[in-house]
Amino acid sequence: MNWLLVMVGAAVGAPLRYLTDLAVRARHDSVFPWGTLVVNVVGSFALGLLAGVAPGRASPLLGTGLCGALTTYSTFSYETLKLYEDGAKGYALLNVAGSLAAGLGAVWLGVETAAAFG
């Protein structure tokens, strides 16, 4: 049953990541990978909320499936490498520092928000 819930969550999360990236690219003609940053920050905040609402219990549908597939480490790493290879070394460094800081801040905010309303 849990496998099925993971699969259903991922079937929504992965296309949502792709469509978000597409929508962000259509609005911002930038070399900086804003789309991946947005999904990673939103997904981290949502997982923080879930963890704050039900501490110690992982949700296969919303946590492992949806948030797990919505966020990505591989595209983040590849886009960082591409920025570096294309000569935008400052942006590459900014992407790593910004993603780590924003992701960690978002998950912390999610946990604290759940605790405040819980």
Partner: protein
């Protein structure tokens, strides 16, 4: 630089790759969904096979993320840096879908937050930095290995 011509044809960040404009997205979205389901299932399977105790170093997510980065690096060379265009759904299925669904940023962020909140800042910061460094090294290794294999194949084809 022999790659310059190929690079110029490859999709750049901030532009739509050919055939991936907002219209006619259904097959691409479907490929991303199926790949994402398979990737997330593989990640879930790894977590069941190698569960990480609370407050321990999250080795399973660490390894999953590193492996997914290496795979995406190798795949991206094959789909964006070769003279012959691959199947248009290969990158959405294996890259955006499978590798994207296999790797996770949210669990990484939550596990880091938990280690930091549990009063173990050393392990938390070590996990935060080690994942980032290993992931970048893995994607570089994947890209480099794929370019080497491609160059050898091209040299062989030329005789």
């Amino acid at each position: 630089m022999p790659q310059a011509g190929i690079r110029a044809c490859a999709p750049r960040l901030g532009t739509y790759p050919v055939g991936m404009e907002p219209r006619g997205q259904l097959p691409v979205v479907g490929a991303v969904a199926v790949g994402g389901v398979l990737g997330a299932s593989a990640r879930y399977g790894a977590a069941l096979l190698w569960p990480t105790p609370a407050h321990a170093f999250p080795w399973t997510t660490f390894t999953v993320n590193a492996a997914g980065c290496a795979a995406l690096g190798a795949l991206m060379v094959l789909t964006t840096e070769t003279a012959t265009a691959p199947h248009p759904l290969l990158r959405p299925f294996l890259g955006t879908g499978f590798c994207g669904g296999f790797t996770t940023f949210s669990t990484y962020a939550l596990d880091t937050q938990r280690l930091l909140a549990a009063g173990d800042p050393t392990r938390g910061l070590l996990y935060l930095a080690a994942t980032a460094i290993t992931a970048l090294a893995a994607v570089w290794a994947g890209v480099t290995a794929s370019r080497t294999v491609r160059a050898r194949a091209q040299a062989r084809a030329r005789g």
